[in-house]
Amino acid sequence: MKRVFIIGLLLTIAGLGVGFMIYNKPHQNMESAAPDFKMPATKLFTEFNANEAKANEQYLDKVIEVKGIVQSVSEEDGKVSITLDAGGLLGGVMCQLDGLSEHKRKTFEVGEIVQFKGRCTGMLMDVVLVRCVEL
């Protein structure tokens, strides 16, 4: 009887422990995250622009590695956003640096070629990738 009680207690503690860990599970580590897709920024934008619903289905929440030319950089409230040229006048791919990662640099030159890995959240004026880290 006592053994059953002890086993039950241990299971409960283990259960609570697992629950606690799940509740406090950390955000995905972006530096070690494996990309679901790798493509030029121009291609990502073109796909969203051509068929947003289809692109959403394919790319929302996925980790995407994009390569492109820096079109503009902005910093607001400590948040750095780098917009990559998508080859047109309609918009680009906006990459926001991850607030939870360490970054080797936060300044970028317009015209330089860069590579970022981030999570796709959809398209407004640009395709927006959040939690980006530079590669």
Partner: protein, 183 residues
């Protein structure tokens, strides 16, 4: 001929001036008995037409960042269904344009009215906002409260003490002039 030219110049200077941002911030807070929830979105796009007072905002729901990853997951998967409704939008109007002078530095109180669409559901809302004009920069802030149920967002009974029925939304945008062509 000269009169025609002058008229043309006159018309172009009256052309609507649009100001925009792609890095606006929206924070929402929910204060429930068991838990305080807060999330922030830094990629809000907003355009404001200084002549007509028309304003539009768009946010990507998946871009809201929470401190707790699990909460962010529940928010997206269970409450907002963001794969189905990836955006939140507001289309509205400043209703007291005569009290605001965007060409003069200063702080102005604005009355804003418009349609807020969240989770595929649209509601008409009214709120007060504030604009601060400083040279070429216009910053706009607003705070308002929404009822979660108004947007068909279902909170299961199990967690109803963790999530408030009311959510407070804070908007903060720094606008710059939208120039046609090269940015």
């Amino acid at each position: 001929m000269l009169i025609c030219c002058l008229l043309l110049v006159g018309f172009t200077s009256l052309q609507a001036q649009k100001y925009f941002t792609k890095e606006g911030t929206i924070t929402f807070h929910s204060d429930a008995p068991l838990e305080k929830i807060e999330a922030i979105n830094n990629s809000v796009t907003s355009v404001i037409d200084l002549e007509s007072g028309r304003m539009e905002f768009a946010v990507l729901i998946k871009a809201f960042q929470f401190e707790k990853a699990l909460m962010q997951e529940h928010f997206n998967e269970n409450y907002m269904e963001s794969s189905k409704y990836p955006k939140g939008t507001f289309k509205g109007q400043i209703t007291n344009m005569d009290a605001i002078n965007f060409s003069k530095n200063g702080t102005y109180q604005a009355n804003i009215k418009g349609d807020l669409t969240i989770h595929g559901k649209t509601q008409s809302i009214e709120t007060k906002g504030q604009f601060e004009v400083n040279q070429a920069q216009i910053s706009g802030t607003a705070s308002f409260v929404i009822l979660v149920a108004d947007y068909d967002i279902e909170i299961p009974n199990v967690v109803k003490d963790n999530i408030a029925k009311e959510v407070k939304i804070d908007v903060n945008c720094n606008y710059k002039e939208l120039k046609k062509g090269v940015q």
